[in-house]
């Protein structure tokens, strides 16, 4: 990490420096507060009574858990949370399994066409979901996977982003670590399982967080593939919730808080890993 001194306007005296620093920090703080204001606002409305929603005070006069209780009891919200958890967890585990396998092969094993296959996989990164949503829907319908966990899960697994990162990671691993196993006559599967996977723990942890997060927050595909309310994920549920309880913003914000909170807690705990892996992976 290198600090860049660019932003220090050449100070004449120590006092001037302190002043410039102070103003700089103050501006940053104000902007940062503006950045998280909508999230605080969401929390604030979520614990307000209906009559207080549009009062200007941010801190409720009489905080109430009523909105949360309503959302969790009057609406099958646990079901939506469970669906989302199942989909996100299964996608994350299966994707990590497949991507580590592919990443290992692309980084280490030699076979004809390897570079071409890697390039082809990499180029799928430029394809965004809205572009292929119509044919993907038709395809998944033809496979009989509409309104099923399979339809929610299977197409979400395949993403070149993870393959790319894992390949880079394996390329940076010293080869000597596998050599001993090769000399012992271990097969490729055993090397992958007993040498490569244990070595991948840090990157697997980082990717697991990113994958889980992405799937917990995804909206467009679940909206398209599962119209059956029993299969709704939380994002689809709250989008519908809003149209159902148009005027009851306190309920909508309570539901939104329930959906957002697990991810914000995850962020508080793994903030460093999450930000570092995005910063270095931003495909620089």
């Amino acid at each position: 990490m290198s600090d860049v001194v660019l932003n220090d306007p050449a100070p004449q005296t120590g006092r001037q420096l302190t002043l410039v620093r102070g103003v700089w920090m103050l501006v940053t703080l104000v902007l940062a507060l503006m950045a998280i204001f909508p999230l605080l606002y969401m929390l604030s409305i979520a614990i307000k009574a209906p009559t207080e929603v549009f009062k200007p005070n941010l801190i409720p006069a009489a905080p109430t858990p009523g909105n949360f209780l309503y959302v969790l009891t009057e609406v099958p919200f646990w079901r939506y949370l469970l669906n989302t958890f199942i989909v996100s967890a299964v996608v994350t585990v299966v994707a990590l399994f497949f991507h580590t396998m592919a990443g290992y092969a692309l980084a280490r094993l030699r076979f004809p066409g390897r570079e071409a296959i890697f390039l082809a996989m990499f180029s799928t990164l430029l394809v965004s979901l809205p572009v292929i949503i119509v044919p993907l829907f038709i395809l998944v319908r033809a496979l009989g996977m509409l309104n099923s966990y399979g339809g929610l899960i299977v197409p979400a697994i395949f993403n070149a982003f993870g393959i790319f990162l894992l390949r880079q990671y394996y390329l940076s691993l010293p080869r000597e670590l596998e050599e001993a196993a090769v000399i012992d006559g271990a097969g490729y599967w055993r090397i992958y399982w007993w040498v490569i996977l244990p070595l991948s723990r840090p990157i697997i942890a980082a990717l697991a967080i990113l994958f889980f997060l992405a799937n917990w927050n995804s909206f467009l595909w679940p909206l398209t593939v599962a119209s059956d309310p029993n299969l709704w994920v939380v994002q689809v549920a709250i989008a519908n919730f809003k149209s159902q309880y148009a005027a009851s913003w306190n309920y909508t914000m309570a539901a939104s808080t329930i959906v957002a909170l697990p991810m914000l807690v995850l962020f508080l705990v793994f903030q460093r890993q999450i930000m570092d892996s995005i910063k270095t992976s931003g495909l620089k």
Binding site: L6, F54, L126, K284
Partner: protein
């Protein structure tokens, strides 16, 4: 990389060596099979199908009828298609520069690594943890006519009673601002990565030569940041034109209204497919979107002379 494996294989009899190479190739294919197959079926095939389906009329039950270029002819004569195309371009032209400026601005603001800035970075990035559905709902609430917190703020500073999402002239701008607010933390992080790669010595040398901070920003930071800038501009353009994030934002905040003023091409494609079951027509517009994205990519590569920056 070849040496190690062949030298290991070399210790074995010649007959085994041949099969070792074949075994390695077979293992390689088997290891990539699940992902290769999945990407092919769920991304590659739909990409090809998008063009294929655009020549058919597909009804809600999945029966296909070949109609030639009828869907493209319909597109040409559909005023709503042209409106949404224009809206998409206006959205991109507003979003991309705003994201560039806010992303770079925030990165410069917090680029020194210290405890205070670590907390600030996390605060700027925090919205990224929340889904766009939630973000859109919160923004919708903040700009509710007359009562919303931002609506009141606007009135308080003398802007009068603004209908942020009800006025067709303002709604797209409101959606853009919400998008910028959500995405800027991500681009801040990308720019921070780029800033870190600039050698510190350049700034020290410039300082000794008496260069002002503005001069060193202009002559050191910006030129050396060109690869990052290229990445940011390309990714944000693709996101604005064809991204799922743009779709989520519009779908929840406005459903494309009022009076179609926020209907992006992706929103219109979705409505044609899943509201009116005009899958063939939707596929034709999606095919155009692919062309639009390719043009954007080529434009950025040409504008940066083939994406090469080392000649600077």
């Amino acid at each position: 990389m070849t040496e190690i494996l062949t030298s290991v294989a070399g210790e074995k009899p010649a007959a085994v060596r041949l099969t070792t190479r074949r075994r390695e190739a077979i293992a390689g294919y088997l290891f990539i099979l699940p992902d290769a197959l999945g990407l092919l079926v769920f991304i590659g095939l739909p990409m090809v199908l998008a063009f294929g389906i655009s020549f058919f009329e597909v009804d809600g039950f999945g029966s296909f009828k070949f109609v030639g270029v009828a869907n493209y002819v319909r597109m040409w004569g559909d005023p709503l298609f042209w409106t949404t195309l224009k809206t998409t371009l206006v959205f991109a032209v507003m979003l991309v520069p705003l994201l560039y400026v806010t992303g770079l601005g925030l990165a410069l603001l917090v680029q020194r690594t210290n405890r205070f800035n670590t907390v600030m970075r996390a605060m700027f990035f925090a919205p990224q943890m929340v889904s766009l559905v939630v973000i859109s709902l919160v923004w919708q609430l903040m700009v509710v006519d007359k009562l919303g917190v931002l609506t009141r703020l606007a009135a308080a500073v003398g802007l009068g009673s603004i209908s942020f999402l009800g006025n067709p002239n303002i709604a797209l701008f409101t959606v853009t601002i919400a998008g910028v607010w959500f995405l800027m933390g991500y681009y801040m992080l990308i720019f921070l990565g780029g800033l870190q790669d600039i050698p510190k010595e350049y700034y020290e040398a410039a300082k000794i030569d008496g260069a002002s901070p503005i001069a060193s920003f202009w002559y050191i930071t910006l030129p050396l940041l060109r690869p990052t800038s290229f990445f940011v501009l390309l990714i944000s353009s693709v996101a604005a034109i064809a991204g799922a994030q743009a779709f989520d934002l519009v779908y929840v905040m406005t459903r494309g209204g009022p009076a179609n003023s926020t209907t992006l091409l992706v929103t219109y494609i979705y409505a044609q497919a899943f509201q009116y079951s005009a899958f063939g027509y939707a596929a034709a517009m999606a095919a155009l979107l692919v062309v639009l994205m390719m043009v954007t990519t080529v434009f950025f590569f040409l504008a940066t002379r083939g994406g090469r920056f080392d000649n600077e």
